[in-house]
Amino acid sequence: MPDVTTTTDNVRLVAGFVDGDERTIRMPNPRTGITKADIQALDSLATGVLIGDKYSSDFSGFKAASYIKITKKVFDLSNA
């Protein structure tokens, strides 16, 4: 079996928290044409739901968003 390489498109959001912590949320198969307003509209939906993973700090808003491609290569480790 040869090595298998796959590439997936994602949109990655960076969520910020009051204690300064941040973490990313990655959504696969993003639609085209996502705007800043689309991301900002999520702020109110995430408030009261998302919390920081260190001190359960309150969500302060999405700080960044980007389209990313993730390439995954699965190596063939079977005996030749």
């Binding site: 949109v11 949320i25 959504m27 696969p28 996502i34 939906l45």
Partner: protein, 161 residues
């Protein structure tokens, strides 16, 4: 005790393939309307079709304030109904066997054996023969250099209605 919550966003792509995303570290008190709204909002950034959301709560009892040095679990093996009967109580606690002390309320007398094993046998006498009242006992493990004091209660059901 610490409580961790997360939710699953279930969706499907244009081919019908099921897709599940886990969003961790959410507020355990967030209600379903809030969660569904956020799940649908996130899904709206994708080409996937929203299917459902599932909230997951995980409670971990072995962190923070629960210190196993304080734990003692009693299991009543045999009950009693009449004065003079012996109740048998299995005790589970951390570490080596220790000598326990027993106290309780009401006018009753104990004849206790097995105080330094993990199985107590307590003969309960309540002023002669015949049915007895329910007896609530307080079982205490003494503090040692390795373990802290632990206390529990167990109720032995008597034969009086």
């Amino acid at each position: 005790m610490s409580t961790k919550a997360s939710f699953y966003l279930n969706s499907k792509d244009s081919t019908g393939k099921a897709i599940q995303r886990s969003i961790t570290d959410i507020n355990p008190d967030a209600n379903k309307y809030q969660i569904v709204a956020l799940a649908k909002g996130l899904n709206a950034l994708t080409n996937n079709t929203y299917v459902s959301s599932t909230k997951v709560i995980r409670e971990d009892l072995q962190v923070d304030t629960d210190d196993p040095q304080f734990w003692i679990w009693p299991t009543l093996i045999t009950d009693v109904t009449e004065s003079g009967d012996s109740a048998e109580i299995e005790l589970n606690y951390l570490g080596d066997t220790r000598t326990v002390s027993v106290s309780g309320e009401g006018a009753m007398y104990y004849n206790i054996s097995g105080q330094n094993t993990k199985t107590l046998k307590i003969a309960i006498e309540e002023g002669g023969s015949g049915p007895i009242n329910d007896q609530t006992l307080v079982i205490t493990l003494p503090e040692t250099d390795k373990y802290k004091k632990a206390t529990t209660t167990v109720t032995i059901k008597g034969g009086k209605s």
